[in-house]
Structures are given as C-alpha cells and as structure tokens.
C-alpha cells in the first residue's frame, strides 16, 4: 500500500515468533515483497498511477546500487549503518510532517505524466524535478537495500516525493514497481543458494497476494494527507526496529 517492502517487519516476526532461520526468513520476506509489488502493480498500472519511464530510469540506479552493496559492506560496519538509517528515517518523517500534505505538482517538461485521483476527483498532471540528484540518491538507496536487505522503498518514496516533486500517490505506485525488481533479483540469488523453503514461503506468499489486493485500492482512495501520516508512522516504526536490530535486541 505504501510502496515499501515491509521486510523489516516480517523478518523479525518469522525469526523470533516462528523460529525460522534468519536467512530463510529474509528469503521468505523477499518473495512476499515480489508478491506485493506484482499484485499491487496490476491495480496501479491500470490507473496510470505508476510513472513507467521514471521507474525504469531509477531502476538503473537502484539495481547498480544493490550490486555495489557488497562493496560497501566491506568498508562500513553494518551496525553503524543501521543507526545512521534509523536517524535518517526519523528526519524524513519529520520533513514530511512539516510539509503538511502533498507536494504541489509542477509541470517541468521532464518525464511528465498524469493520473486521475479519485480522492479529489481531479486529473493530476506533474513533471519531475532534480532528476540527476534523484538518480544519484537512488544509487545510495539501492546500495542500502542491497546491504541490509531492507529499506529500499522507505528511502525511494521520500527521494521521489520530497526531492523530485512527484505527487505521493504516483510516488508510491512507482516505488512499488521498483521494489519488485530489486526483490526478484535478491530472491533469485537466495533460491540459487538454497535458502528458499516452500514450507514457509508458499503460505506467506499466498497470504500476501490476498492482502496486496486490498492495499492499492485503499492507497488510491485515501487523501494524500492521510497517506502521508500513515507513511510517517511506518518510517518511525522502521527507525525503532532498526535501532533495536543494531543494538542486538532483535
């Protein structure tokens, strides 16, 4: 519903509550991200919410960033990164809160698109700002998600919404498209390494496919203000979870 993966919630639940080995839990959650993305996208794409060209352009950055994640892992301690990300998430949530509502759509002549917003009953036309900077930061977002296996969407949404000036609904739909690509690549690697276990993945994936049919319908109908508040809450929950993980509690 929000264009974020949800892996950060699923992994601790599976590994702590059900005693699933951590790598298998991560593999399961990645498959669930794919299921969410594919299912939600059938609804988003049909409504023109997803900016296909923008998504594809930024996917270049996130996939390359994800491949480079291994390099970063050697250079920086993962726990230091987790603390840093928790801080960034809190900052982003605060920024979104300060803004009160959605960005004002601007026609910039770059990757322009439009969609029909059922909440306001209006056609929204928008263009993309600061494409270059957004691309560079997406490299970072891909790198982070490649490194920690989480947080891709949590960073892509603020980059696109706050920095590139894309309305929140189009941002969420486009982010949702992009996380499917990163997750599929990761899942293929996990499958090859033998961390997939149908015993856990199949029930989880089927459950998610049902749930993911509801999310987009809700996201499309809610006002941008309400959506923004939900998103800020999720970011703060992420920040708390990430801090706990870094501290070794989870």
């Amino acid at each position: 519903m929000l264009g974020v993966g949800g892996g950060i919630i699923m992994v601790p639940v599976l590994s702590l509550a059900f005693g699933v080995p951590i790598k298998v839990a991560v593999a399961t959650s990645i498959v669930c991200v794919i299921a969410t993305s594919s299912m939600a996208q059938t609804a988003f794409a049909g409504r023109g919410m997803t900016n296909m060209r923008l998504g594809m352009l930024l996917e270049v950055a996130t996939t390359i960033g994800a491949v480079a994640g291994g390099v970063t892992a050697v250079l920086v301690d993962a726990r230091v990164l987790q603390y840093a990300f928790a801080a960034v998430l809190v900052y982003v949530a605060w920024q979104m809160n300060r803004r009160r509502g959605d960005v004002e759509p601007e026609l910039t002549g770059v990757l322009e698109a439009s969609y029909y917003d059922p909440a306001s009953g209006k056609e929204v036309r928008y263009g993309v700002k600061r494409t270059g900077l957004g691309f560079v930061l997406s490299l970072g977002a891909g790198n982070i998600s490649g490194l920690l296996g989480v947080g891709g969407g949590a960073f892509k949404v603020p980059i696109m919404n706050l920095l590139m000036g894309i309305p929140l609904k189009a941002t969420i739909a486009t982010s949702n498209l992009m996380i499917g690509v990163t997750a599929a690549t990761g899942a293929a690697i996990f499958y090859g390494r033998g961390y997939m276990d149908v015993h856990y993945v199949v029930p989880a994936a089927l459950g998610i496919l049902v749930g993911a049919r509801i999310g987009p319908r809700l996201a499309v109908r809610l006002s941008a203000r309400a959506l923004s508040i939900v998103f800020q809450t999720v970011l703060l929950v992420f920040a708390v979870l990430m801090t706990l993980q870094a501290a070794g509690v989870l």
């Binding site: 299921a35 059938t42 409504r47 594809m56 491949v67 056609e123 499958y191 199949v202 089927l206 496919l209």
Partner: protein, 125 residues
C-alpha cells in the same frame, strides 16, 4: 484475478498506454500461473498427506519430480514463476518501448535487465 473488474471502474478515467497494458498483462499472467501451480501443489500435499515439504526442488531434477507429481516440485515451480515475473515484466517493457520507437528507454531497460541478470550470476558465486 479480476483486478481489472474492480468496483467503480476508475480505469475508465484513464486510457492505458502500451507500456502500462504490457506491464499489467505480464504481471497478471505471472500471478495467475504462479498461484495455479502453488494451489495445485497444496492440493497434492493434502492428497498425499505429510504436510508441506521443506526446501526447494533443484532445477536439474524439476522435470522428473513434476512428472512424478511431487508436491515440492509444483510448489517450487510456482515460486520460480513468482520470482521470475518481474524479470519478464522488465523484458516486456523493453518490447513495449521498442514498439513505441523510444530508443533511449530501450537502452535504459536493457541496462536494468542486464544488471538484474548480472547480479543473479554474481550472487551464485
């Protein structure tokens, strides 16, 4: 999978572009095939008893296991289809951009596909 037949038909307000139609079609087909395989696998689990198996079936022995109606093979294949769907989506986008004669985005999409495949190959090592 009647995502298209949602109530209120907001789709009617939006005319899908070629690329949107392609992406939507690929994803719906992927989900449908995957769910069909997973459900069939679960039916086999119930028929044979013994609960949902662990692990996955390696690609090498997939064909023979499928012929032997092993539930694990159908569950694994359903999973592979689910994981493969975004790959096919990107490949499908490439075709759609080519049909629109958008050379720049053909190139961009090809890069994404290449990096995806590259990281899968690198990840196995």
């Amino acid at each position: 999978m009647s995502a298209a037949a949602g109530k209120g038909a907001p789709e009617a307000r939006h005319t899908m572009s070629r690329i949107e139609r392609t992406v939507r079609l690929v994803l719906m087909a992927g989900i449908t095939v995957s769910v069909a395989l997973l459900v069939f696998g679960l039916v086999l689990v119930v028929a044979r008893g013994g609960g949902i198996p662990h692990g996955t079936v390696p690609l090498g022995s997939m064909a023979s296991e499928l012929r032997a109606l092993q539930p694990a093979a159908y569950l694994s294949l359903g999973l592979i289809v689910l994981i493969g769907t975004p790959f096919v989506r990107v490949a499908g986008s490439l075709v759609a951009f080519a049909e629109e004669h958008d050379g720049r985005y053909v190139l961009i999409t090809a890069t994404v596909l290449l990096v995806m495949c590259l990281s899968v190959v690198l990840g196995k090592v």
